[in-house]
C-alpha cells in the first residue's frame, strides 16, 4: 500500500510534509533522527576540541604539540564525517515522504559510519596518530611518534566511512530511480536538454533532484577514497611506493568532495523546509534543474585548487581548478541562494528557530563562499595557501552554513513530529550561535589576512591575539549550542514517538 502511495506522481508545486499521510516513512524518519543526533552530538564534542586548540593557540593553555596534532587530526576527520552524517540523515528524511527508502539500509550505512568514526577516535586518542585529517602520503608512515599500526587503523576507519557513504548513496540513487522510472528522470535530463519545453512526466521535487546529484558525487568521492586507500595499505605493507602527486589528487578528491557534499546536502534541506515556513512552494524550474545537474560535474572539478602550490601539477589542471571554483559558485548563488531569499522576501514568514537558522545558513554559506572564491584565485592563493584563511573559509561555510542548515532542519523535524510550537526565546539561542560563530570565524579570516600559518601547535606571541579575541565568541557559540541541545533533548522522546504508529519497515 505504501509503495503505491509513494510512487504516485505529484505536481511539483506542492509543499511536501515531512511525514507521509499514513506515516509510512516513520521508520526512515527514525533512522534519519539517529543520523542527526549522532552527527550533531559528535559535532558538539569535537567542537570542544576546537575550543581547546584555540585556547592553546591564544597562549591561554598549553597543550603538548603531539597532543595538539592528535586533537587536530580527530577534530578535522571527525567533523567532516559527522557533519556529513547529520546532513545525510536530514536528506533521507526530506525525500522519504515521496521516495521509498529502506530504513534497514540506512541503519547499516550509519553503523558503518560509526565504526569508521570509532577507528578515527581510537587511533588518534589511544594510538597517538596525528598526521592530520588529510592523511597526506607519505606522512602517516613517517610520523616518528605514532606506530604504523595507528596509520593503518586510520585507513581502516576511512575505509568504513567510504563504505558507509557508498551504501547510503547507492541505495538513495536506486530508490530515487525506482520512484521516478529511471535516473534520467530524477535528474530531469529530458526537461533540461529541451530547455524546459518537454514537460512530459512529473519532475522531481528539488530535494529529490539534489539527493540524486549528491548521491552520484558521493559515489565518486567514496570511490576516490578507496582508490587512495588501496595504495596506502600497500605502502604500509612495504609493497610499493606511491606517486606523491597522484596521492594528493586522490585524497583531496575524496576529502574535499566529502566536505563539499555536506554543504550541498544541507542546501537540499533548505529546499525541503523553507517553503513550510514561507508557505511558498519551491518549484523545480529549469534553472533549478540546470544548476543542480551542473553541480554533479563542478563539485568534482574544483578540488585541485588545493594544489596550486604544487608546481608539478599540470598547468591546465591548475587553470581548470580556478575556472571550476568560480563556476561552481555561480549556480549555487544564482539559483539556490537567490531562490531562498525570494522565498523569504514579502512572504509574511514567522521567524521561529528553524527558518532563522536556515537563513543564517544561507548567509554563512555565501560568506564562506566569498572567502573560498578569493582563495581559489591562483595569485591570491599564493599568499593565502595554508594560512588561517583556509580554516576561516571552511569553518564559515561549515559552522554558519551546513551546520546551521542541519540544526534548522532538525528543529523543523521535531516541530513537525511533536506538533509543538517553538518557544520564542529559542531565537535568542540562534542569535548567540550566529554572533558567536561570526566572531569566531572572523578572527580566523583576520589571522589569515595577517599571514598566520594554519596547523601550528604553537603560535608566536604576535599571532596569539587573534585566537584570544575569538575565545569569547566561541563561548557565545557554545551557549547557543547548549541551548539548542537542551531544547531538543527535552522534546526528542516526543518526536521519536511522533514517528510511530506507522506501517512497519517497507
Amino acid at each position: 500500500m505504501a509503495s503505491t502511495a509513494l510512487a504516485t506522481p505529484r505536481p511539483p508545486e506542492t509543499i511536501t510534509p515531512l511525514l507521509a499521510p499514513d506515516r509510512a516513512n516513520g521508520a526512515v524518519i527514525r533512522a534519519a533522527l539517529a543520523y542527526m543526533i549522532v552527527g550533531l552530538g559528535t559535532f558538539l564534542l569535537l567542537g570542544l576540541l576546537g575550543l581547546l586548540m584555540r585556547l592553546d593557540q591564544g597562549g591561554l593553555i598549553v597543550i603538548p604539540a603531539a597532543w595538539f596534532y592528535r586533537i587536530m587530526t580527530l577534530h578535522g576527520a571527525g567533523m567532516v564525517a559527522t557533519i556529513l552524517l547529520a546532513a545525510l540523515g536530514g536528506l533521507a528524511a526530506a525525500v522519504s515522504a515521496t521516495t521509498q527508502l529502506k530504513a534497514r539500509v540506512l541503519w547499516i550505512a550509519l553503523i558503518l559510519q560509526i565504526i569508521g568514526t570509532s577507528f578515527v577516535i581510537l587511533t588518534t586518542l589511544v594510538g597517538g596518530f596525528g598526521a592530520g585529517w588529510t592523511v597526506l602520503y607519505p606522512l602517516p608512515s613517517h610520523g616518528d611518534i605514532w606506530p604504523l599500526s595507528a596509520a593503518i587503523a586510520m585507513y581502516v576507519g576511512y575505509l568504513f566511512l567510504a563504505l558507509g557513504l557508498l551504501v547510503y548513496c547507492v541505495h538513495m540513487l536506486y530508490a530515487l530511480a525506482r520512484a521516478h522510472g529511471g535516473l534520467t528522470n530524477v535528474l530531469a535530463l529530458r526537461y533540461l536538454f529541451s530547455f524546459g519545453r518537454d514537460t512530459r512526466g512529473a519532475l522531481p521535487r528539488p530535494p529529490e533532484l539534489i539527493a540524486a546529484v549528491i548521491s552520484i558525487d558521493g559515489i565518486a568521492a567514496a570511490t576516490a577514497g578507496v582508490v587512495y586507500l588501496i595504495p596506502m595499505f600497500a605502502h604500509a605493507a612495504g609493497v610499493t611506493s606511491v606517486n606523491a602527486l597522484f596521492a594528493k589528487n586522490a585524497v583531496l578528491l575524496f576529502g574535499h568532495t566529502m566536505a563539499n557534499l555536506s554543504i550541498y546536502v544541507t542546501a537540499g534541506l533548505v529546499y525541503a523546509a523553507l517553503p513550510i515556513f514561507t508557505g511558498r512552494p519551491w518549484r523545480t524550474t529549469w534553472a533549478v534543474v540546470c544548476a543542480w545537474d551542473l553541480i554533479i560535474i563542478l563539485m568534482l572539478a574544483n578540488y585541485s585548487h588545493h594544489l596550486y602550490a604544487d608546481f608539478a601539477q599540470p598547468l591546465g589542471l591548475q587553470l581548470l581548478a580556478e575556472l571550476g571554483s568560480y563556476a561552481v559558485a555561480l549556480p549555487s548563488f544564482i539559483v539556490t541562494v537567490v531562490g531562498a531569499l525570494t522565498q523569504v522576501y514579502r512572504s509574511g514568514i514567522r521567524w521561529t528557530i528553524a527558518p532563522t537558522l536556515l537563513l543564517l545558513g544561507i548567509w554563512g554559506w555565501v560568506l564562506g563562499g566569498i572567502g573560498a572564491v578569493l582563495d581559489a584565485t591562483i595569485p591570491v592563493n599564493q599568499v593565502m595557501h595554508n594560512t588561517m584563511w583556509v580554516p576561516a573559509h571552511f569553518h564559515t561555510y561549515y559552522l554558519l552554513g551546513a551546520v546551521a542548515f542541519a540544526w534548522g532542519y532538525l528543529f523543523y523535524m521535531v516541530r513537525e513530529l511533536t506538533g509543538d510550537r517553538d518557544a520564542r526565546m529559542l531565537r535568542v539561542a540562534a542569535w548567540l550561535y550566529g554572533i558567536g560563530g561570526a566572531g569566531f570565524v572572523f578572527m580566523l579570516f583576520v589571522a589569515g589576512g595577517n599571514s598566520v600559518p594554519r596547523r601550528y601547535a604553537v603560535h608566536l606571541p604576535q599571532w596569539q591575539v587573534y585566537a584570544r579575541v575569538a575565545v569569547p565568541f566561541v563561548i557565545l557559540l557554545a551557549l547557543g549550542l547548549a541551548w539548542f541541545s537542551w531544547d531538543l533533548g527535552t522534546r526528542f522522546r516526543a518526536a521519536w514517538r511522533g514517528t510511530q504508529g506507522a506501517a512497519s519497515e517497507p
Binding site: A65, A66, Y69, G130, L136, P138, L139, H142, D144, I145, A244, L245, K248, R280, Y308, A309, D310, F311, A312, E322, L323, Y326, L330, F333, I334, G339, L341, T342, V344, Y345, R346, S347, G348, I349, L359, I362, W363, L367, I370, L374, I378, P379, V380, Q382, V383, M384, H385, N386, T387, W389, V446, G448, G449, N450, S451, P453, R454, Y456, A457, V458
Partner: protein, 179 residues
Amino acid sequence: MIEPKVILEIFIILGVIWTAGCAVVVARSGRAIPLEQLNRAEARLRMGLLGGLGGGAIVIFFLTLHWLPYANTRRAELGSPEVTVGAMGMQWTWILSRHQVPADVPVEFTVTTRDVNHDFAIYDASGRLLTQAQAMPGYTNRLLYAFHAPGTYTVRCLEYCGVGHHMMTASLTVTARPK
C-alpha cells in the same frame, strides 16, 4: 604582488555588502504577497547576476594569468634567475644551499624534500607571507622571486609535516645589491 591584507579588506567589503542585502530581505519579509508577483524580478536578478558575476569571473581569470606563481610566468616578469638556492625540506628543518641572496635580482629556489610533503614559504620581517611552493617527494619545484628590500627573511613550513611542523624554520638574509 598581492597583499594579504588587501584580500582581507576585499573580503570585509564584500561581506558587508552581502550582509546588508540579507538584512534588507529580512526587514522586508513581512506583509505577504503572492510569489508570482516576484517571478519577473527574480528572473531579472538572476540574469543580471549571471551576466555580472559570470563576466567578472572571466575577466578576473584572464587577469590572473599574468600573475601566476609558476616559473614561466615569473621568468617573463622578473627575467632569468641570477642566483639559485637549493632548498630541501626534511622533518623538521630546511637545508638551504646558501643563506644570503642579493636584493633586486631574480632568485630561483629549487624546492625538494627528503621525506614528506613540506611547503617552502618566505615571510618578510613584518610577518607578511611573500611567496611559497610545495616541497613534494619525488619532485623539484622551481620558485622564482626577487626581493626588493634588504633584511632578514624567515622560511616557514606551511604544509603540515608532523609534530615539529611549527618549528621548521630557516633564516635568509637579503643584502643590498652592490652598485
